[in-house]
C-alpha cells in the first residue's frame, strides 16, 4: 500500500528541475564569493573550504549508512551545506573545528530530523551556532585580509565589533572597502560585490525570488535610516548579504507563499537589527535566521492562500 501512493506536500508541478540542478545553481552562485574568500584570505580560505567540502558529503554518507537510509549524496545538498558553512567561518579557524562544524551541521542539523526536507533549521547555520557555543574564542578571532605584501595573519576586529565594543584604536573601513571585501570577517561575507553577483545569478535562474532578500535587507536599511545610523554600513557589514540571499532563502526552512516569505524576511531583519543594536553579540544574522526558521510553520499556516472563488475567511466564519 505504502509504495503505491506517493504522498508529498505541494508544489506538485512537474518540471525538469530537480534537487541536484537547484543545488548546482546555488554552488555556481557561491563561486564568486568563494573566489573572493580565497583572494582575500589565501591559504586560510582554501583550507577551510576544502575541509568543509570533503567532510560534508562524507558525514552525509556515513550517517545514512548507519541509519539505513537511502543514499543522497548525489543530490549535492550536502556540498551546499558544507560550502555555506565554510563561508561563515573565520579564516584562522583550525581545520579540525571546521570539520566538526560540518559534521554537526549534517548530522544534528539534518540527519537527526529525517534528512533533506525535514530539517526545521538551516543546517549550515546550526553548524555555525554550535561552533560559536563550543569554541567562542576561535570563532571570534579575525584577521586582516592577506594582501600580497603582508602574508602573515594580523588579528583585528570586524567592523561590527569595532562599533559594538567601542574600540578606539581600530579604524573603520570605508564603504568602498566594505563593498569590495577588503576587511576582516568570515570567509565569504566580506565581499558584498561577489555575493551580489551570486545573488543576482540565483534570481536570474529563478532559484530564489526577490521576496525574502528584499524584505530582509529593506527592514535593515529602513530601521537604520529611521534610527539615523549609517545605512550602507549596516547593509554591507557582517553576514547580512550572505544570509539574506543564501541562508534565509533556503527552500526547506522558509515559508512557501510569497506573503509568508515577505513576513519571514521582515522578521529576520528586525531580529538582526535587535541583536546588532541591543544584544550581546556584534552580529545577529545567524541567530535571527535560526529563530525565524522556527516560525516558518506558523507563517505558512497563517498565509494559506485562499481557494479560487472562495470568499475571504472573515466572512465565511460568520
Amino acid at each position: 500500500m505504502e509504495e503505491k501512493f506517493i504522498l508529498s506536500v505541494s508544489p506538485h508541478l512537474k518540471t525538469k528541475e530537480d534537487v541536484p540542478r537547484v543545488m548546482l545553481d546555488v554552488i555556481i552562485a557561491l563561486i564568486p564569493a568563494s573566489l573572493a574568500a580565497v583572494y582575500f584570505f589565501r591559504w586560510y580560505a582554501l583550507r577551510t573550504i576544502l575541509v568543509c567540502l570533503i567532510f560534508a558529503p562524507l558525514a552525509e554518507w556515513v550517517s545514512e549508512k548507519i541509519m539505513k537510509r537511502k543514499n543522497t549524496i548525489d543530490d549535492l545538498s550536502a556540498v551546499v551545506t558544507g560550502l555555506l558553512l565554510a563561508l561563515t567561518l573565520p579564516p584562522t579557524l583550525p581545520p579540525w573545528i571546521a570539520a566538526i562544524g560540518v559534521i554537526v551541521a549534517i548530522v544534528l542539523g539534518k540527519a537527526f530530523f529525517g534528512g533533506l526536507g525535514w530539517n526545521p533549521f538551516n543546517p549550515a547555520l546550526v553548524g555555525r551556532a554550535v561552533l560559536v557555543a563550543c569554541w567562542p574564542v576561535e570563532m571570534t578571532t579575525w584577521i586582516k585580509p592577506v594582501t600580497s605584501r603582508v602574508l602573515q595573519a594580523v588579528t583585528t576586529a570586524t567592523p561590527l565589533n569595532i562599533v559594538k565594543e567601542k574600540l578606539v584604536e581600530e579604524i573603520l573601513p570605508t564603504h568602498l572597502e566594505l563593498f569590495l571585501g577588503n576587511r576582516a570577517g568570515s570567509l565569504g561575507e566580506t565581499s558584498v560585490l561577489a555575493l551580489l553577483i551570486g545573488g543576482i545569478y540565483l534570481l536570474y535562474r529563478r532559484q530564489i525570488t526577490w521576496h525574502i532578500p528584499l524584505s530582509y535587507l529593506g527592514v535593515v536599511a529602513l530601521s537604520s535610516f529611521l534610527l539615523k545610523i549609517d545605512v550602507l554600513f549596516q547593509l554591507f557589514t557582517g553576514g547580512l548579504i550572505l544570509g539574506a540571499f543564501f541562508m534565509a532563502t533556503d527552500y526547506v526552512t522558509s515559508p512557501l507563499t510569497r506573503k509568508g516569505q515577505i513576513i519571514f524576511g521582515l522578521l529576520c531583519g528586525l531580529m538582526t537589527m535587535l541583536i546588532r543594536l541591543k544584544g550581546g553579540f556584534p552580529e545577529g544574522v545567524c541567530y535571527s535566521i535560526l529563530i525565524v526558521n522556527m516560525l516558518t510553520p506558523t507563517i505558512d499556516k497563517l498565509t494559506v492562500p485562499k481557494k479560487f472563488g472562495a470568499r475571504s475567511r472573515m466572512f465565511t466564519n460568520k
Partner: protein
C-alpha cells in the same frame, strides 16, 4: 450535611496532625544542624576575605558617611589589632548578570587582591575573568591605570570577553573609589 462537616473536620485533623509531625521533625533537624551550618558559612566567609587580604587575621564591618550616603566596607586587622587593610564588595553588570567582586586594599589604598565572588558569564569565555592570569594584573595598580589596553590602560582583557573584562574593572574601580579618603572621615564600627 452533617456527614460533610464531619468529613471536613476529619480532614483538617489529619492534615494538622501530619503538619505537626513534619514540623517537629524539621525543628529537630534544624536545631541539630544549625551550629554546623553557621560554622561552615563563617569559615567560607573568612576564607574569601583572607584570600583578598592575606595579612589580616580579624575582620569587622565598618562604615562611614559620605555626603548623604553610608558606605560600608570590611576592615581587616592584624593579630596585634593594627588595621592592615580594607575590603569592599561591589557589583557591576557583566555580560549576563552582575559580577560580584571582592576588592582588597592595604592601608595606603593599594590593591592587594581581587576575587570574583559570583558571576554568570559564558563558561570558557567571560567566565575566564576568574582565572589568575587576568586577576593577577590588578594588585598595585592605581585607579588611572585600571583600564583595558584597548581603552589606553594597562590591563589585558580576557580574549574575546571585552564586556566581562570591562565590567570587572569597573567593579574594582568602584571598590577603590569607596576608600579614597576613607581614613580622614569619621568611622563608625558596627
Amino acid at each position: 450535611m452533617e456527614s460533610l462537616t464531619k468529613k471536613i473536620v476529619d480532614y483538617i485533623f489529619r492534615l494538622v496532625l501530619l503538619c505537626a509531625i513534619a514540623s517537629a521533625a524539621l525543628a529537630w533537624v534544624y536545631v541539630e544542624t544549625k551550629p554546623r551550618i553557621d560554622l561552615e558559612e563563617q569559615k567560607m566567609l573568612l576564607a574569601a576575605r583572607q584570600e583578598v587580604l592575606p595579612q589580616a587575621e580579624k575582620f569587622e564591618e565598618e562604615s562611614f558617611i559620605e555626603k548623604t550616603s553610608t558606605i560600608t566596607y570590611i576592615q581587616g586587622y592584624a593579630e596585634n589589632g593594627e588595621p592592615v587593610g580594607k575590603i569592599a564588595e561591589t557589583r557591576k553588570r557583566g555580560y549576563a548578570a552582575p559580577i560580584k567582586v571582592l576588592v582588597g586594599v592595604d592601608e595606603t589604598n593599594k590593591i592587594t587582591k581581587v576575587k570574583i565572588l559570583d558571576e554568570m558569564e559564558t563558561p570558557g569565555l567571560g567566565a575566564r575573568i576568574k582565572e589568575a592570569k587576568f586577576l593577577n594584573q590588578f594588585p598595585g595598580k592605581t585607579i588611572e591605570e585600571l583600564k583595558l589596553k584597548k581603552d589606553k590602560g594597562t590591563i589585558d582583557a580576557v580574549t574575546g570577553a571585552t564586556i566581562s573584562s570591562r565590567a570587572t574593572i569597573e567593579a574594582v574601580k568602584e571598590g577603590l573609589n569607596k576608600f579614597s579618603g576613607a581614613g580622614k572621615r569619621e568611622v563608625s564600627k558596627k
